[in-house]
Amino acid sequence: MIKLDQKFHQPPYLEILSEGQIYAIHSASLEILERTGIRCNNEAALKIFKESEAYVEGDRVKIPPVMVEQALKSAPSRILVTGRHGNGKVLLERNVSNYGLGTDVPNHIDTYTHEIRPTVLKDIENIAKVVQKCKSIDFTSNSGLASDVRPEMQDLYHYKVGSTYCDKPFFTTAANGENMKALIDMATVFAGSYENLKQAPSLIVYGEPVSPLSLDKHATEVLLVCAEYKIPITFPPMVQMGATGPMTLAGGLAQGNAETLASLVLHQLKNPGAPFIWGPFVGMMDMRTTLCCYGGPVLMKSQAALGQLARFYNMPTFGFAAVSDSTMIDAQCGIEMMWSVLVNALAGLNLCHDVGYLNSGLIFSLESLLLGDDIISAVSHFADGIQVDEETLALDIIDKVGPEGNFLSEGHTVKFLKQEGWYSQLLNKKQFRAWQVEGNKTVNQRLEEKAHKIIEEDVPPLISDDEAKELDKIIAEREKKLA
């Protein structure tokens, strides 16, 4: 994780909106909720809205500003998620950027054949193994939709396999309320009890409303279950400018924010004080190809705005980091991944997810994950800023070494060598002749080698046999119910 603005020195901080602009967007969101409202396709949620101060006509819900204010007040501004066994900490709070994986990617680049093919459960196992070894990844997820398991049960299989080889906090989706309950039961196998899980959650959940302005039945079920059991959830709409939201970024942010706030209001009505992570995705649809763009300046501007709005609301926010529209690891991938990681840190976003996503989230690979890990480590070094004090100004050493001396064998050099320099695990830093001697290796080759080394290593499972049995029991019960 990266902590900003917490040392005495001042790291850079990105602000793209003025205070007045932030308020204008907030005000616009309030107007959308009051004037247009949202459509609620979930019966239980509609009932909750009806019993509140919202104006409900049929399935259309209009939310007055005071309800938004109340929800923002009751929602916690600090959410701590810890991995099982205490491995990995995700602190969702102002100025802390936590980086991790995303959910549900349908295709995977086979690490041996390079074929883009449907994701299988084995890929999710491999992803877990790689995440466990990644030093800059704070939370894990499935980053895959296993095509070789029953679709209605995917989330449960993903969680079991993912947890077997990685014990960092787990970011998950759930198909519906019943699956969410099953996942909570599975997490409780590790936590010991619902109370323990509530006090120290190891799960973060992802769901979304449908833009424009719609709460669908199943996603809303999941939202309500998470509120009830106090499992941290993020519920971002995916506003595609010019398609499911206005073409203009300001309007897109206003609409996306309104959709997020409506979800927050419902969530807090269900259980005031339950943890919620704010933050809409507002990005462009490429109008030449209809691709929802994860790369490029529009989403970057949008994310810069998210950071400021989140601090205005004093809520932790969602972000998209180390993502690309490319179909492979190439120059496009490098460009798009790099600045998305950087913008997340500079904007102060908190749940910076989707690390390794390729082609707008349609493709994932072990290599893109490893590349993302390296990029985050570089940005982490950047965000650390410059330490200026007597020791780092090094005046005595400079005087001692004097004109035409060298610093290489100074104790001071050895002392500060690792923290002041940045050493990539994957990028080339050799002069070309030395690089040629080593075999002209490309970054892509090094990424593959590293991926293969990790997944070919025999590692013990990180869950006990008893825990595995309990998880299987819950999965079997759910299978039975679905039959």
């Binding site: 349908p106 679709p151 109008m287």
Partner: protein
């Protein structure tokens, strides 16, 4: 000799008023309604299609062209019906039960309309019976189904099963699409085709109807 250049130009520029006046002008000059459709309206949309495929035109511009084209089509439609010439392929589109995502399906629908196809969009969260009812009523040539979730896409298979049950399967071509859908999935449920995005969906419909 009637020239359709100005009419096609109007379509390419998405200018409905030019399209309407050019259609009326052509009719006054004794042009055949079928020629106006084929050479002017569809001719213009074909250029739009090429430009869109080459990345030279943007989707909203394409939709404006399609809308302008339809203003012209509205004028000639009664004449075509009179002369007994059927309009182009009829397509019914819908998002399956449990799913309310529809932007991708809408874009496909708009592009199909732009290519002169007759599109009926039934909406979202549609039970299998609703699809069947609409097919019974409108007798379309093609059924297009959309889903964004791996859980809801299974309902596409249910619709195809119901079509078989009701003896309607042979009378219609079925195509499917959506982010989690694939060629393999489409084959496994017995669909006639799959397209990864809107542009190729249009080509698929043309292929299915060939």
């Amino acid at each position: 000799m009637v020239s359709y250049d100005a009419l096609a130009e109007g379509v390419m520029n998405g200018d409905a008023s030019v399209v309407e006046s050019e259609v009326k002008k052509a009719l006054n000059e004794g042009a055949d309604a079928q020629d106006i459709l084929a050479k002017g309206l569809i001719g213009g949309m074909n250029v739009v299609g090429e430009r869109f495929r080459d990345g030279d035109m943007f989707l909203p511009e394409v939709l404006m062209s399609a809308s302008a084209m339809h203003k012209g089509l509205d004028i000639v439609r009664p004449l075509l019906a009179k002369s007994g010439q059927g309009l182009a392929t009829k397509v019914i589109m819908g998002t399956v039960e449990g799913d309310i995502h529809d932007i991708g399906k809408r874009i496909v629908g708009f592009l199909l309309q732009g290519n002169g196809f007759d599109v009926i969009d039934l909406g979202v969260d549609l039970k299998a019976e609703v699809f069947i009812q609409a097919i019974d009523e409108h007798k379309p040539d093609v059924l297009g189904m959309s889903a964004l979730l791996t859980t809801t896409m299974l309902n596409m298979g249910k619709v195809i099963e119901l079509l078989k049950e009701k003896g309607l399967r042979e009378k219609i071509k079925v195509m499917v699409g959506g982010a989690p859908v694939s060629e393999e999935f489409a084959k496994s449920i017995g669909a006639d085709g799959y397209a990864p995005e809107a542009g190729s969906a249009v080509e698929l419909v043309k292929k299915l109807m060939a």
